[in-house]
Amino acid sequence: MKANIRKIAVFLEETQTEMDRPVNPPTRRAAAVAVIANPCAGKYVEDLSELMTIGEELGELLTQKAVAALGIPGNHAESYGKAAAVGENGELEHAAAILHPKLGTPVRKVLGKGAALIPSSKKRGGLGVPLDIPLGHKDAAFVRSHFDGMEVRISDAPRANEIMVAVAVTDSGRPLPRVGGLTKDQIKGEDGLR
């Protein structure tokens, strides 16, 4: 493993009722977050390929951890998202290098498919900064019931020379979706959009 991982945190959230109405089956979302050393911290580095490779490793590891927390086979996942928070001695572009070039392919491999763009967010921040990971249906980005987000944070990360990298996976959409739009049973799943 190329990444120097200080810690990994896995979160599993389950909503059973909303406004006293049962959510049946409960909606569940999981996020796996790695806190790694930022090899490019503190200086301008032109070539960010090291971070891209780290993104590839973490894509597989974190997706496996999130799916394991849900206790489902990868192909039962419904939505996904990714995010990164760079410590104060790093650049936003470091988050981009981890998230965008190579992280997605192993995520999709673990989940069997994943025709849709993986929604993402990134920021620079200090210890305990909340990371809002956007979520969207993995095969059809327009499925409205699955537009969502999951907040995660780790009180002691990211330190100045670290990056927090997160992958979120769900087996469901929002708890009681009722604002219309494309539903998951209408998905064609060809273009990643509908």
Binding site: E13, T15, D20, E151
Partner: protein, 194 residues
Amino acid sequence: MPEVAVRKRLSSVEEIFHEGGPRSNPPLRRAVALAVIRNPYAGAYVPDIASFMDDLKPLGLEMAKSLVQALGGDAKTVEGYGKGAIVGSAGELEHGALWHVPGGYAMREVLGGAKAIVASTKKIGGPGTRLDVPITHINAAYVRSHFDAIEVGLADAPRADEILLALVMTTGPRIHARVGGLKASEIKGEDGLR
């Protein structure tokens, strides 16, 4: 007898490999179980609330078992524990105190009769409030290497009429513990203190 109405749960596990020092194999693991329940006493002063402690016992047991599961399934690997509660704004601090007995005894039962008092904390707070749950060794409260804490919380809880209940367990000392004091290997384990 008020029912225990759970709105949502969160479980999380941290694996800590290092904190700038030597890498630990296996990593230290710290697990959190949260449950957000309706506060049956919110909004008014209710003199007699103690019976709710019995109602909470099954939930306590379930959460304690889920923590052992999250840490790998073997109760013998658990070395530290703690508990806490955040009471929503329409409740009283005393409602948080209802968690002492069902939360504490559930963990001791699952761990096969742990001897030390379960370290705890509580507060009144709104959605997103964070709580630093204290942690001590399960059989001897004075073991210095196991004094620790985990920050917990949920972005959307507790609402005014809710209580967020927390149990936490860990598999060992702080990752680079080296400030002396009573060692886990020196425990007599009779009085819960040393």
